[in-house]
């Protein structure tokens, strides 16, 4: 049976334990306390008089704070304890655990409380392949401290565990021999400091000006203010309101402060992607502009700063390319993974331009558009200079890092994701269809920026000509007339890869589809092969390679569905968009908690319940953002000049909703909508 996992998170730090609060190494999951991609605690097990504890209940107070209520003994026998234990855990820049032992009897109680403590300094990117590291352990009883340190050349990480209460310290943990008075309590605070050492043994982060500015925030106030800044959703449908607040809170939890920024950006998600992912952050910002627009300018500036500047095969870097992954761990630092700054993605660079333009449309932040002219121009230049590598104008990818590079450098990045209906996979370089849509959109948006803000109308004309030409040729080369949809990809010599996939929905979002083909594409998207009842599958059923539990061969991704629904509304396929939104909100309600990254592609009619995949992480920024985007999509929120346009097309069951104080260049505006059923309720004669 799978153990229940309990997490607290803050920035790129997180701690995952079992339901009792204990942490023990599991090669299948990143259990332990992590920060900056390093596991600072791998073993953290509490015992009272030699016995493990049993959980009675738990209070997950916020994403960074949890209380466990425990009693000694196991669940297998009747619990009537004289003693109970509270572990109150919180995480900010350090990890804190207050342990409270309560004596419920009328007599004093003598007890031994023991915490076993260990670390392997494992790399978050390398959990499945644990390796032995020589960890120096020093017990410092006079300071009530246990210090664990790992050094490799100058790479230096240290965990310092300190206790406020008197304690015996040995190399494997801490022991408290305590006497608790009748109906009294004993407590200690265990404080775990995670140190990333720089020059002369100082914490590298403390040496950086950006981190010096970092004062410890009152995290509860911070979360409240975050929720206050977002629009207020008033909904008849309680599940909708619950999902809304949950998504906002998850997005708050997934913000971290990178070394080179004083403001926070979103990480990909728990547990595998607790770092900067270019694609995830761009998509998340696009999804959340009506709700949390503060995320976008920070992300754009950071990605501009990290933009590629030279050719580098190992890191798949080219001038102008936008990053896809950044890690701080040992594997990245020593080149065992190319992730110290990894650029292996064909879609991030056009999406950067798309976000910059879309952000301006919502915010009116012209200053940022001017500030980022150079990086945006480099990104646009990248499309034709480095992206279109075979000279046919299509943005392609082919890894140059043959050992560590990503084979598929699009969002469907599993090795077998790019396939035709029968399993044939094309050669390289590959051009997937959705990337051409993004490139088309980037050129048109770049043209608007050049004309309106950069004072370069000639460049704007050129981009528009290129976009029109790209659209024309794309619709010849990718369209499969006998099937009525677009090929997933073209191989190196232009041979189409004919699988029916969710990617065609992205083409609607980018606007590269001519009006007269949109209806046919929409029919496929909500037809029985692609639409599972919860959402659009990554790959349609009925093809040889379809697999409902294959991440990119049949499973359903909320972020993908959000983009598709937005695309459908762009072409006025309102009912199809509403069906997807309804399926996704139903899924979120039934699963409960944070929206998962992906669910299985089984038909809804078969399973009745969304089937979760064990590898799917949650919370994930672009899943939480995806639900918000679906809400904005069914409300039809579109910035139009200085105004917010509202054009609702709500799914049945949404009832009446009000989204109040949507921020933007208009200040704050309200949006109202009601579903068709709500609109006619009371008027329709009832059949009895």
């Amino acid at each position: 049976m799978r153990q229940e996992r309990v997490q607290v998170m803050a920035g790129n730090a997180f701690a995952i334990s079992d339901a009792q609060g204990d942490m023990e190494v599991d090669p299948r999951a990143p259990v332990g306390l992590f920060s900056f991609d390093t596991r600072f605690l791998a073993h953290w097990v509490l015992r009272v008089d030699g016995e493990r504890l049993n959980a009675l209940s738990r209070d997950d107070m916020t994403y960074f704070e949890t209380r466990f209520f425990l009693v000694p003994g196991t669940a297998s026998h009747y619990v009537d304890a004289d003693v109970s234990v509270i572990r109150h855990r919180s995480l900010d820049d350090s990890f804190n655990e207050k342990i409270i032992v309560l004596n419920h009897s009328a007599d004093p109680a003598d007890m031994t409380v023991r915490m076993d403590i260990g670390s392997d300094f494992g790399d978050a990117a390398d959990i499945g392949r644990p390796r032995e590291r020589r960890v120096e352990v020093t017990a410092v009883p006079e300071h009530r401290q246990l210090r664990l340190r790992y050094r490799r050349e100058r790479f230096d990480r240290e965990t310092i565990v300190s206790s406020t209460a008197p304690v015996e310290v040995d190399e494997r943990g801490m022991t408290f021999r305590i006497r608790v008075p009748p109906r009294g309590q004993w407590e200690t605070d265990l404080h775990i400091c995670m140190i990333v050492r720089g020059e002369a043994g100082h914490d590298m982060r403390a040496d950086l000006e950006t981190h010096q500015l970092h004062v410890r925030r009152d995290m509860r106030d911070d979360l409240r203010a975050w929720l206050d800044r977002a629009p207020t959703l008033v909904a008849e449908n309680g599940a909708l309101a619950g999902a809304y607040e949950r998504c906002l809170t998850d997005l708050a939890a997934l913000r971290y402060e990178p070394l080179s920024s004083t403001r926070r950006v979103t990480v990909g998600g728990l547990p595998w992607a607790m770092t900067l992912y270019g694609r995830d952050i761009l998509v998340t910002c696009l999804q959340t502009l009506p709700f949390t627009p503060e995320l976008a300018p920070v992300a754009l500036r950071l990605l501009a700063l990290l933009q590629g500047g030279r050719l580098d095969d190992i890191h798949e870097e080219e001038p102008g390319k936008i990053l896809t992954q950044l890690r701080y761990g040992e594997a990245a630092a020593f080149g065992e993974e190319p992730t110290t700054l990894y650029y292996g993605a064909a879609d991030t660079t056009p999406l950067f331009v798309v976000l910059l333009d879309e952000y301006e449309r919502w915010s009116g932040d012209v200053a940022l558009v001017r500030e980022l002219r150079h990086p945006a121009r480099m990104a646009l230049d990248w499309i034709d200079e480095y992206g279109a590598s075979t000279g046919d104008g299509y943005v392609r990818y082919q890894r140059r890092n043959a050992h560590q590079g990503r084979l598929n450098q699009c969002w469907k990045d599993s090795p077998d994701a790019i396939t035709d209906r029968n399993g044939w996979q094309p050669g390289f370089p590959r051009a997937t269809c959705e990337v051409q849509g993004y490139a088309y959109d980037a050129k048109l948006r770049g043209a608007r920026l050049a004309r309106e803000f950069w004072g370069d109308p000639a460049y704007a004309d050129r981009l528009e000509r290129e976009a029109a030409e790209l659209k024309r040729r794309f619709n010849e080369d990718f369209w499969l007339p006998e099937r009525g949809y677009y090929a997933l990809a073209l191989g190196p010599d232009g041979e189409p890869v004919d699988a029916l996939t969710s990617n065609v929905g992205h083409l609607l979002w980018s606007g590269i589809v001519p009006e007269d083909r949109a209806g046919t594409v929409a029919d496929h998207l909500v037809g029985p092969d692609l639409f599972s009842g919860w959402g659009v599958r990554t790959l349609a059923a009925g093809q040889r390679v379809y697999n409902p539990v294959g991440s990119h061969l049949g499973a359903v991704w909320p972020w993908d569905n959000a983009v598709i629904a937005a695309g459908l509304r762009r072409y006025r396929c309102d009912r199809a968009a509403a069906r997807i939104a309804q399926g996704m909100f139903d899924m979120a309600e039934r699963v409960g908690g944070a929206v998962p990254e992906v669910i299985a592609g089984y038909p809804r009619t078969l399973t009745k319940y969304p089937v979760q995949l064990p590898t799917a992480g949650r919370p994930q920024a672009w899943s939480s953002g995806g639900l918000l985007m679906l809400l904005a999509t069914v409300l039809g929120l579109v910035p139009c000049g200085e105004n917010l346009l509202v054009n609702p097309a709500l799914p049945e069951g949404f009832g009446r909703i009000e989204l109040l104080d949507v921020p933007g260049r208009w200040g704050h505006a309200d949006a109202y909508g009601r579903d068709r059923a709500a609109g006619v309720r009371g008027h329709r004669p009832r059949l009895r």
Partner: protein
């Protein structure tokens, strides 16, 4: 003295304009190169896509310290600046954003290929 790092810094100062640098990037950087028990200081002033290079120990917006051998490897393109930072072979104090920009002034690894050349080579193969 001629080392890859010294050569590169001299060249940077002589070049007129660095089109890879955004016009909005401006600031001062001091590189402290340690070797044989002493430290050499290089002082870079970045503005308007130009880099002025002098020798000075003055305070700067960003101070980068490393063994000269480390800087030589970076200047030769065989060590990634961000990896050097991650390994703590190089330390920074001050505005790390300038370090990320400085990265663009260093050459990439020798032998790095243009995607177009890789594509052409692949397609030539049967």
């Amino acid at each position: 003295m001629t080392t890859p790092a010294a050569d590169l810094l001299r060249r940077l100062g002589e070049e007129d304009i660095h089109p890879d640098l955004p016009e909005t990037t401006a600031g001062t950087v001091r590189l402290d190169a340690r070797a044989d028990g002493r430290t050499e200081h290089w002082y870079l002033t970045i503005a308007d896509q130009r880099v002025a290079v002098t020798r000075s120990t003055a305070e700067a917006d960003l101070v980068v310290r490393a063994d000269r051998a480390v800087l030589d490897r970076i200047a030769a393109g065989t060590l990634h600046p961000a990896a050097a930072l991650g390994r703590n072979d190089l330390t920074v104090r001050g505005d790390i954003r300038l370090f990320m920009m400085l990265r663009r002034l260093f050459p990439g690894p020798p032998g790095a290929r243009h995607p177009r050349d890789v594509a052409a080579a692949t397609r030539r193969r049967p």
